[in-house]
Symmetry: C2
Subunit: 190 residues, 2 copies
């Protein structure tokens, strides 16, 4: 069945550079109708984030202003995989830069497609157990990050209240913790 | 503490239209250093997706070629909230268009930020129980979608194998189902 779903790429065109990303437009041919349609791809390197735990089982979390939504969000540490890095190396570098924590035992938790409709990258999740403070954080010029140590119950309370709702942070955390009773039924709706 | 994290928006500039999205560049002032930095915002309407169950507890899932990643993915149904719609109306419309299923009892499962670093939209999750086939699917010109009815165990097997790794589909499903043993430790790493 999957073969019937695959579109052919007729041509490809470079679009604008978005700083974090490079835009590409592909002209794609519908497998049945043969219609040609222009489709957006936002090209990116892979991303990483991590569930980082101290030896006391405190979660090392970060809070920072996020320019997409326009407010400060509570998240797991993470970032982009630089050229020549493995996702593990990127995860260890980002944890150190953003929080000053390092060391620990690292285990891979799998990867997700942040949005396969238009993003081409994966986000890799890692679990780091027994991390310790090894230096002062060294955020980039464009970063201003507060480090927060949280218990599991503080984190799940932030999930339940909607304070913590970054999909990729929840994705990493959901592989280590029960985040909510299932089915999760908040009071609010729209 | 959060006040210290908030940047001031100095100016805002319209960027390229990306078909699905509108790009905006904000010039932001670092709260401490007062450095001004240009930041990307990819503006979008909100998105919706849903866990749709028949009266036999079969999951109504979709498989389609996704242009970002360049292959067919297994997902929950979903789409974008049109102007004037609530997220519930959008979810019901998208389920009907993509799968032909309708009716059922609908409950809100909460919303996530797909990526607050550069996206400004939310993705709303819905649970629909007892949906029934009411018409043939009516996909858009640019869509070619296969509908698959799956049991819970078939879905969780697809999650475990990595076949189903759309972050927003996993986010909706994780509010209804146990998706993996915790911590989730796949064999592969990079």
């Amino acid at each position: 069945m999957s073969e019937d779903l695959e579109w052919a790429r007729v041509s490809s065109e470079r679009g604008p550079d978005l700083m974090l990303f490079q835009v590409r437009y592909d002209t794609m041919q519908h497998p049945q109708s043969k219609d040609q349609l222009r489709r957006l791809v936002i090209e990116s390197v892979d991303w990483v984030n991590m569930v980082a735990l101290t030896s006391d089982d405190a979660l090392v979390m970060v809070r920072q202003h996020r320019f997409g939504v326009g407010y400060a969000t509570l998240e797991t540490p993470g970032g982009m995989v630089d050229a020549g890095e493995t996702s593990l190396q990127a995860a260890q570098r980002e944890l150190l830069e953003e929080t000053g924590y390092g060391g620990g035992r690292w285990r891979y938790l799998g990867a997700v497609e942040p949005n396969p409709a238009f993003h081409d990258h994966l986000c890799h999740h890692w679990l780091a157990e027994g991390v310790v403070p090894v230096q002062a954080p060294t955020p980039g010029q464009g970063e201003h990050i507060a480090v927060e140590l949280m218990s599991e119950s503080q984190m799940t309370a932030a999930v339940a209240s909607g304070e913590l709702k970054h999909a990729l942070a929840l994705s990493a955390l959901s592989r280590v913790y029960e985040l909510w009773p299932r089915p999760f039924l908040p009071a609010e709706s729209d």
